[in-house]
């Protein structure tokens, strides 16, 4: 137990690097910054139980003891549909309630930010695709397509991961870089 406490002190100081060293995962939409999230989350599982898309999964021991039973989203497996139910049901303020309106979502959700790898993206290789743009819940705001359906992500991207989920390239040419604060 003492070793655990020491490890906890070590990770509590630098949660973002600890996260970066592990898998690339997102927290649910409306989640507060990582360190505060870990202190607020009571591991009740209600966010996942409210999620109609079942994109919210829970960590076992693989991501450190502080993250056990906390919710995460792997965008390539299943993106978030921004229904905002998890924030409504979260009792402890780890996920903030945000109304399901475009403006509120654009202002308050910051799960991550999509990045296009032009070396992989089909549209940048001359094969017009545009699937990520069509998957985006905020088209022309978070992402727009230029000539040949080449995608360009704007600053407004909230990082839901639906583009990465839908990318038909293997490996995916668009990835959401987590912004866990």
């Amino acid at each position: 137990m003492g070793g655990g406490a020491l490890a906890a002190l070590a990770t509590a100081g630098a949660p973002s690097t600890a996260g970066a060293a592990s898998r690339r995962y997102l927290r649910p939409p409306g989640a507060v910054a990582e360190e505060e999230f870990l202190s607020r989350c009571i591991h009740c599982g209600q966010c996942g139980e409210a999620c109609p898309n079942r994109c919210i999964k829970y960590f076992g021991a693989e991501n450190g003891h502080a993250a056990i039973d906390t919710p995460y989203i792997i965008p390539r497996e299943k993106g978030c549909i921004l229904c905002m139910k998890c924030g409504d049901v979260c009792p402890s303020g780890a996920i903030q309630p945000i109304p399901r309106e475009a403006e509120a979502i654009l202002d308050n959700v910051a799960m991550g930010h999509a990045v296009v790898d032009e070396n992989l993206c089909l549209s940048f290789q001359g094969k017009t695709c545009g699937v990520c743009y069509r998957a985006c819940p905020l088209p022309d705001v978070a992402i727009y397509v230029a000539m040949l359906e080449q995608p360009h992500v704007t600053d407004k991207c909230v990082g839901c991961g639906l583009c990465e989920r839908s990318c038909i390239q293997m490996p995916q040419a668009i990835r959401v870089m987590p912004n866990r604060g």
């Binding site: 906890a8 870990l38 202190s39 139980e49 056990i68």
Partner: protein
């Protein structure tokens, strides 16, 4: 107050059955909610035709069960979510006091919207004591069944555990758990608190495709109860039980032995899941008001009382031999 004429209210003998009903219902709810959640996701996805045959059967069952209640399950079934650790019931959010305390420890802040969700359980505990443990806790449900299993296995020849430890260890577990929460910045007590684990793991097992690490811990506690100490985890280790005991120390509703009806058979002590001493009026802060001692008492000598302290020890039961001998000796001395 003529205590000699007092008799326990006749329905109190049956409270233990009501308690089993309550425990079963809570456990059934923890199984039903993840099932409803999975059904909701099927509905939301309009995916009936894409489901596997077994999933379609599940869908049909859930549809049959819920169709009298709602036309729009994907939305309407959101009204009840969560577990005994923290839940949402028709907009009323309720949380375990240990969740509130752990939350304070992990963040060292007072986040009132969450802390207030523990208020109703707190008030109920102040009045009725540790009834969460006895009447609602889904882990207690399994632990009590485990006690029965232990008795059968013992009868069949297995060497089961009857070791005893210091019941105060659990207060240490509570303190250490909260301290670790402070140092790690994460609610560590949630990982060693069986009702939270059971609620979560049932959800993982049904809706997330498999049990998580908590199940290993919980299986360990069941084995501990079976092989080392009867009800060992609840008695000696549970941090939540420790917190509820402290909160219920001055509970108003508590059990009481009617000494004039007691025959010193000590069945109450034998049946007590929490190693208390009802036979000598020793209920203390750890009594869960589970009413098992009322149910088993052959002479109707157990009842409820409303007072913030236990009755002082009343000596041997008036129907027992010790008391009669004592009386005879007194009379001999008088003669």
């Amino acid at each position: 107050m003529t205590a000699a004429k007092r008799k326990p209210f006749f329905l109190w003998r049956h409270l233990n059955k009501l308690r089993w009903l309550s425990l079963s219902l809570v456990f059934a709810m923890l199984v039903a909610l993840p099932c409803l959640h999975v059904y909701q996701t099927y509905r939301a996805a309009h995916a009936y035709d894409l489901l596997a045959p077994s999933e379609q059967r599940f869908y049909d069952i859930m549809e049959t069960l819920t169709s009298p209640l709602t036309d729009d399950p994907a939305e309407d079934l959101d009204v009840v979510k969560g577990s005994t650790w923290s839940g949402n019931f028709w907009g009323l959010k309720l949380s375990d006091p240990l969740a509130a305390l752990g939350h304070i420890s992990a963040g060292l802040t007072l986040y009132w919207p969450f802390l207030l969700t523990a208020l109703i359980p707190l008030v109920i505990t102040a009045i009725f004591g540790r009834i969460f443990c006895g009447w609602l806790c889904p882990a207690n449900f399994l632990y009590e069944l485990n006690t029965n299993l232990t008795a059968w296995l013992q009868w069949a020849g297995l060497k089961v555990g009857h070791r005893r430890f210091d019941r105060r260890i659990k207060y240490l577990v509570l303190a250490v758990g909260l301290l670790l929460s402070v140092f790690s910045g994460s609610i560590m007590v949630a990982a060693v608190y069986p009702p939270a684990i059971v609620g979560r793991e049932l959800y993982y097992g049904i809706a997330q495709g498999g049990f998580g690490v908590g199940m290993v811990f919980f299986a360990g506690t069941l084995l501990f109860d079976l092989l080392v100490a009867r009800r060992g985890f609840c008695r000696y280790l549970c941090p939540g039980g420790a917190l509820y005991s402290l909160l219920g120390r001055y509970r108003l509703v508590r059990l009481r032995r009617l000494v004039e009806a007691c025959n010193d058979c000590r069945k109450c002590n034998a049946v007590c899941e929490f190693e208390l001493d009802p036979w000598r009026d020793g209920f203390g802060q750890e009594c869960t008001n589970c009413a098992a001692c009322i149910a088993i008492c052959p002479t109707n000598a157990m009842t409820f009382d409303i007072r913030p302290f236990d009755h002082p020890e009343q000596g041997p039961g008036h129907l027992g031999q010790r008391y009669r001998r004592g009386r005879e000796e007194q009379m001999d001395e008088a003669v």
